[in-house]
């Protein structure tokens, strides 16, 4: 068996990796430690172990700040967003990548232009339309907003991925008498799962973490998502950081688990499409 030799270079590499790992884990560690402390301890001893573990911060976060309801709303909103995006964007990507028609490039450019529009620049017209049609406090509208804003990125990733799928598979399906929809549904879609996983992770995180849209368009306590729930702990002149950090720990937990579960597909999906057949 071949043994790895310890060289100065490998030591340096490991030191660098350890340093990077520490840098990434520190904020998480700080959040977890702070979630069982009070304000005084958080600021006087930020990285030390707490004198008393205040697990009641989690109870305060979950019950008093209505996090359980917000949590459920966030899951519903995020899931609806990723399902709609996966469906619509994969359809668009299929047409753009597999069909050759005159405007196919321009259709792609049309979607890409959407990525260049910053969210803040269209807030006022969106707010105006939502106010005019009385669409505030409506989760369907919120989901549609997320879908609209995430279409460009999702179409781009999926179209690039689909371009890499072998044409012979499609041709075989056509010879077998498959319709276009069947080719999309039974051939292209299953092969695009890694890329769909990738966009779903990004879209899930985007919807889960978005504060701006729900802040402006949702003010019914029963409909608020978890990102707004965190603001409940912010006061004009000071905040209760213990329960806030506990709420953050709860908020981070779900995306973290989802990322860990789909980590390989995310990375694979991002790299896919870079090399064409």
């Amino acid at each position: 068996m071949k043994k790895n030799k310890i060289t100065p270079l490998s030591v340096l590499k490991y030191l660098f990796l350890i340093l990077m790992a520490a840098m990434f884990i520190m904020p998480l560690l700080f959040t977890l430690l702070s979630s069982v402390k009070d304000n005084r301890e958080i600021f006087s001893n930020p990285f030390g172990l707490p004198e008393v573990f205040r697990f009641d911060n989690y109870v305060t976060a979950w019950q008093d700040a209505n996090m359980s309801q917000y949590f459920l709303n966030s899951i519903l909103i995020s899931l609806a967003t990723i399902v709609l995006l996966a469906l619509f964007c994969s359809m668009a990507a299929f047409i753009i990548s597999r069909f050759e028609f005159k405007a196919s490039k321009w259709v792609m450019v049309f979607f890409l232009i959407g990525m260049m529009v910053p969210m803040h620049t269209i807030l006022v017209p969106v707010a105006y339309i939502i106010g005019m049609f009385n669409l505030k406090n409506n989760l369907v509208v919120l989901v549609l907003l997320y879908v609209a804003f995430n279409i460009p990125f999702s179409v781009m990733v999926l179209a690039n991925f689909m371009k890499g799928i072998s044409k012979s598979l499609e041709e075989a399906a056509i010879i077998d008498g498959a319709s276009y929809f069947r080719i999309y549904w039974n051939v292209a879609l299953p092969l695009t799962v890694p890329a769909i996983s990738t966009i779903s992770i990004f879209n899930f995180l985007g919807a889960w973490n978005n504060v701006l849209f729900p802040l402006l368009f949702i003010n019914d306590q029963k409909l608020k998502p978890i990102s707004l729930g965190l603001l409940n702990f912010n006061g004009e002149r000071g905040s209760q950081y213990g329960p806030l950090m506990a709420a953050i720990a709860i908020t981070v937990f779900i995306p973290l688990v989802i990322y860990l579960l789909f980590q390989e597909k995310v990375e694979g999906g991002l790299a896919a499409g870079a090399v064409k057949e």
Binding site: N39, S44, L231, N234, S239
Partner: protein, 437 residues
Amino acid sequence: MKKRWKRILAVALACTTIAGLAAGCGSNEKESDKIKIRLLTRMAGTSPQVQIYKDILDEFQEKHPEVEIVDDSQGDDGSFNNILKTDMSSGTMANIFRIQGVANLEKYIDEGYLLDFSPYLEEDAEWGGGFTEGSLNYYKVPGKDGIYGIPCESGLIGVYYNERIFKECGIDKFPETWTEFLDAIDKINAKDYTPIAMGAKTSYMAGHLHDLIFYRWMGTEAAKLLGNRELKWTDSDVVQTLEFVKELNDRHAFTDGVVGLSDDIVKADFQNGKAAMMITGPWNITSFKNPDECPEAENIQLAKFPYFEEKPEFKNEDMQVISPYMVNGKLEGKELELTLELVKMLTNKEAAERFANETSQLIPRTDIEVDETKVDPLFTKNVELCAESTGVAVDVFDFDPLASMQDRTRNSIVSMFTGTSAEDAAKEIQAEVDKGE
């Protein structure tokens, strides 16, 4: 094949239409019957003050089940400003809200966003007659008739200090003059304590320090002169006020790395006995006097900011916090009536007494009875010191018609902690004024 695609397209379109309709109908049905009162204040978070505010909203809701109360209040600056700006741009202002400043209110009045409270204050003498004259006058906007804000909070911005540290450093009483103050800072430094808990990352702290110095050096009226352009930021006296801030920094009055520290961090230093002084308002009294939160609770005292020996006439020209409730000027009929009723419930004698006795928050009314057994002596002291004021103002930029001056002045003041000279900071602020002109 064509048929199939057409069918798919039709189903997709139908789904979109149904979703849209469901969206629209859902909201209409829910909101059609009730009068909605939306509030966009800063009363958010978990403080005892917010609890009383919420209790009053609940009481109002119980009294008026036909009303739907939507409380959009935000503690976080950025979130509050996002909602306020979007509301203004889309013409959907809340019923009750708050805008910082005075001189900048003119444009909102012109657009009809602000209700003039004068007739309602006169009409209900029991409620309207209870406010201190000075606090109502504060919301008389230059060039406009009327009163455009109802004060819901006031109190002296003073120096809270740790008596134990002062004694340990050989300082028997809180310095009254600037020279004594500088001397005290040297003595505190010599004992390795931080003289002033200052977290300039939260730029209002540096801004408040300059406000205090400005009023002691030039008086509160000078802020109005800056606002109406009779004075310039580059005038020697104004530059001198900035120079005093820089002098404190050069004398190591603040913790090292002051620019990277937030108010919460330095407040913890003060509460834990690492810093000797903190410049703040009465809202912190409850946390300063809570032994669980503040191990130095019994040593915390309050004093006015020192005055300049050369300017004894401005000894009591004070900075006070005054926060208002404003009402949407476009409301009418029953909605206006109910909104005003809620504002009255939030600011009447009963509410003022509850806020004062339970949370040390002072609504500036002359008719409140403070229960000496309930309130903290620091709160009583704050009220006493307020009574000595010969002139009162909030932030210097409150009198400036340019809305950007809040950020500009505070950022330039903070930049002095990283090496910018007082002259350059003054030029930077004046440039903003000139650009705005």
